[in-house]
């Protein structure tokens, strides 16, 4: 499992520019928003938590189809499916690799972009914390969506249609905890719910995703 994680990490860092692309996308989305809504810093401050969360979510979405597609094409997914470790663990490791290359950099970059959007000082810590808690769920749900569409020729658009509704609860709890944190209110409830969501996804979705992959490899 560790070897698989290492392999996925080095593949995504060395080959094909998937790594960093999500970050650049996040940067561009965040920069485009002020052009759209105007430069008034009060408005930006108000919508900053939502924009940052939606941006992180879209950036995450961008690299989802890479989780399984390349392995499916060159046949290594078949090998992994017949390997001695269970397919559920393979899925979980792949989601983890996706999180390390996408969710984690997004979390670290978010405070920098929050400066551009004038987020209140109190919100920064909550922003990082909520992204840290929430992005693993994004990766895991995304891995499930990618497993559903791995056999399709042009699954990219369908993948977003399937995955985005599943992201709704994560987005709500994540953005809500930043909003509350920025306004100095209590954030325990949304953060706990967010953490619960992440833990439940990590615990249950590998089974659903592995089932989908088995169907697609049949």
């Amino acid at each position: 499992m560790i070897a698989l994680l290492k392999r996925d990490l080095s593949l995504s860092i060395r080959a094909g520019g998937g790594f960093g692309l999500g970050l650049a996308f996040f940067l561009i989305v965040t920069i485009l928003v002020p052009f759209g809504v105007g430069p008034q810093s009060d408005t930006l401050r108000l919508i900053a938590p939502g924009i940052l969360w939606v941006g992180a979510l879209l950036a995450c979405l961008l690299s989802l189809d890479r989780i399984f597609a390349l392995d499916y094409e060159d046949g290594s997914l078949d090998l992994l499916a017949t390997a001695p470790i269970p397919l559920e663990a393979v899925v979980a490791m792949k989601a983890l690799a996706h999180w390390v290359t996408t969710g984690l950099p997004l979390t670290l970059a978010a405070p920098v972009l929050a400066v551009l959007l004038n987020l209140q000082g109190a919100g920064f810590g909550w922003l990082v914390l909520s992204l840290l808690l929430g992005t693993p769920a994004l990766s895991m749900i995304g891995a499930f969506g990618a497993a559903l569409t791995v056999g399709l020729k042009r699954g990219g658009l369908l993948l977003s249609l399937l995955v985005l509704p599943l992201y709704v609860p994560t987005l709500i709890f994540g953005a809500e905890s930043v909003r509350r944190g920025a306004q100095g209110m209590a954030t325990t409830t949304p953060l706990l719910l967010l953490a619960g969501l992440t833990l439940a996804s990590v615990a249950l979705l590998p089974f659903a995703a592995a089932a989908a992959i088995r169907v697609n490899l049949r």
Binding site: L148, T149, G151, P165, I172, V215
Partner: protein, 242 residues
Amino acid sequence: MSLWEYANPQKFMRTSQMVLPVLTVLTVLCLTAGLLWGFFLTPEAVNFGSTVKIIYIHVPAALMAINAWLMMLVTSLIWLVRRHHVSALAARAAAPVGLTMTLIALITGAIWGQPMWGTYWAWDPRLTSFLILFLFYLGYIALWEAIENPDAAADLTSVLCLVGSVFALLSRYAVNFWNQGLHQGASLSLDKEENVADVFYLPLLVCIAGFVLLFITLVLLRTRTEVRARRVRALITRERMA
């Protein structure tokens, strides 16, 4: 005699052929009676004026939008556990009907919202969760359309339906958390003393029965079409092999 006999497509086709005309007549009767009763023979409600009459379409459609998803969930489970093809096809057949019901509920709600709340749309929890349900239906149907192999499509959409149900439920309560609503609470519960006044309640019940029948009729009809389409496909494949 057990329910599972209908898993045999032939048996299903024979029975549904007999049941379908009866259901159609009942649907037309219920809907005509309920809607006419509701539209012309009930008084106007105190605070609503004549806009209250939209309730006879809005409420049954909303009810069926949710029940259609529940039915898809059950048939998906049956497909996953017992591999009955009719069950998978019924889930496929129900999805567009559910999508339409969701859309009807959203649109009639918007039309009703304009005079009552002064806006066509508000980000109220109920409205928002219906919009999310709409997206789930879209994704489900799109996945069915996208996959060539019918068995794989049935499997994958069933898994999506299961996971989607959990997340749809989560979203329903998450949006509650996110915004408080304009929409009134439940007023048709069976276990409550106070419901909508009887003048409106009785025709509404008839309308709900009509919509349930309409849903069953449409799903049976569409399932029959799916079964036939599957047969045609099998015949074409056999031709090619020969």
